[in-house]
């Protein structure tokens, strides 16, 4: 029991690791939302690309679930 506990504790990731990907998704979302406001054409395309990042992350997770 004690061994199992310490093993479990070792597996725990730091807060920074837990939030690494979520932070990237958050920044991509907000950058995409704001960039779309700055113009038509290229800014819009970049905005679509950035906002697709979190959506694709979700789709990817569902595709490889086990």
């Amino acid at each position: 029991m004690i061994v199992e506990r310490s093993a479990r504790r070792q597996q725990r990731a730091s807060i920074a690791r837990v939030f690494a990907i979520p932070a990237v998704l958050l920044l991509a979302s907000i950058a995409g939302l704001v960039l779309g406001l700055t113009g038509n054409g290229l800014p819009d395309a970049l905005s679509w690309a950035l906002l697709s990042v979190p959506i694709l992350a979700g789709v990817f997770a569902f595709a490889k679930r086990r």
């Binding site: 990731a13 998704l25 406001l37 819009d44 979190p54 979700g58 569902f62």
Partner: protein, 385 residues
């Protein structure tokens, strides 16, 4: 994270969500068709802009005074309240009412064609989309309804923040994107709730915060009118409101306004006595001249009798925030792909709300401590879940 900390955040997450979920689900469901209102209007033949040929009404066409006479001839005895321009087509709208300070319910909106100078007719009212918009904006309750939904928005943002805090202990032993299928239905729901919540977080935060700001639109306009606008037009403070019979030329006023704010395109004119002007001015609102500032309106206050400029000044920061909040909430600024992204993220939000509700509904009986275990261990095997 200490158990007591997790417990406190869990209770914040639970209650902020439970109180607001029903309303947030309604906002998502009504928001979905609203994303595509332009496309729906086109399909139902209510897109007048597409059928009109000529220069945009914001740029030119028949004289504004003439257009106003055409509109007023349809509504004898009424006074003009607003005139609004299109940046894409000759469509021009005129709003009239029985008095300069008439409430929204007594206003009549008419569509006109500025290139031909003819009336198209009254704006269609009472359709499905208007019902949906009203529901989404204020639950048919006017200002109290708007403010109530603003409070629900604040609870939504509270739930998002507390949800992110709880994400940390839950995910410490799990990889990003973990969706376990070999466990109980509850663990499956929990994993989906966490994943979609964190994936849509940025969008949900922006739409939530801008929704809250939009809910305070009316008080913010009142605040501008009673504050900065009153200050800009202080010299008129003691005068009685202008009689509609003595309103002067709109075209002369527009010329003065354009001279004060050159190179910009007008969006609408607020007539004297309404929420968007004083008792003595045509308030001509111009768009910014760059894409980023296009949503930021700057008014030029023109004396309605003399057509002389009184003042032109950018609106206060909080009102500018309101104007920037509109596109960020509606998602109508980046073409159809952005609207589709908006729809996908709305669906994800619906699932986050629904799965959260299911997690509460199907909670293991009584023991709050079990839910804290669940979060603290990431619903690890062997833990009650």
């Amino acid at each position: 994270m200490k158990r007591s900390t997790i417990k406190a955040w869990f209770l914040i997450h639970k209650w902020s969500s439970l109180v607001s979920t029903l309303f947030l689900l309604m906002l998502c469901v009504t928001g979905l068709p609203l994303i595509f209102h332009d496309e729906i209007d086109t399909l139902t033949g209510e897109d007048y802009e597409a059928s009109l040929a000529g220069p945009p009404s914001a740029q030119g066409g028949v004289a504004l005074d003439e257009m106003l006479q055409v509109a007023l001839a349809q509504r004898p005895g009424e006074v003009p309240l607003f005139m609004a321009f299109s940046q894409d087509s000759p469509l021009l709208t005129v709003t009239t009412g029985p008095a300069p300070d008439a409430p929204g319910g007594e206003m009549t909106l008419m569509f006109l064609d500025r290139s031909s100078g003819e009336i198209i007719g009254p704006a269609p009212t009472g359709g499905f989309m208007e019902f949906v918009l009203q529901m989404h904006t204020d639950l048919f309750l006017g200002l109290p309804g708007m403010l109530f939904l603003g409070v629900m928005g604040a609870l939504f943002v509270t739930a998002l923040v507390s949800g992110v805090v709880l994400y940390a202990p839950f995910m410490r032993r799990l990889h990003f994107g973990t969706l376990r299928t070999n466990r109980s239905r509850r663990v499956r729901t929990l994993d989906q709730h966490n994943l979609l919540g964190v994936v849509a977080l940025g969008w949900m935060l922006v739409v939530g915060v801008t929704g809250i700001i939009n809910a305070f639109a009316d008080p913010l306009v009142d605040n501008w009118r009673n504050g900065e606008l009153a200050e800009m037009t202080a010299q008129y403070a003691g005068d009685a409101p202008l009689d509609p019979a003595s309103y002067g030329s709109l075209d002369a006023a527009m010329a003065s306004a354009k001279a004060a704010l050159p190179g910009r395109s007008p969006q609408f004119i607020g007539f004297p006595g309404g929420d968007w002007s004083t008792g003595h001015h045509y308030a001509v609102f111009f768009q910014g001249d760059r894409p980023l500032t296009q949503h930021l309106l700057t008014p030029a206050l023109i004396d309605s009798r003399s057509a002389q400029l009184t003042d032109a000044r950018a609106m206060p920061a909080i009102n500018q925030a309101l104007m920037m909040s509109k596109p960020l909430h509606f998602g109508d600024y980046g073409g159809l792909p952005l609207k589709l992204i908006w729809a996908v993220l709305t669906l994800a939000t619906i699932w986050v709300l629904w799965s959260g509700f299911l997690l509460w509904l199907r909670r293991s009986p009584a023991k709050l401590e079990r839910r804290i275990d669940e979060i603290a261990t990431g619903a690890a095997r062997g833990m009650p879940a």
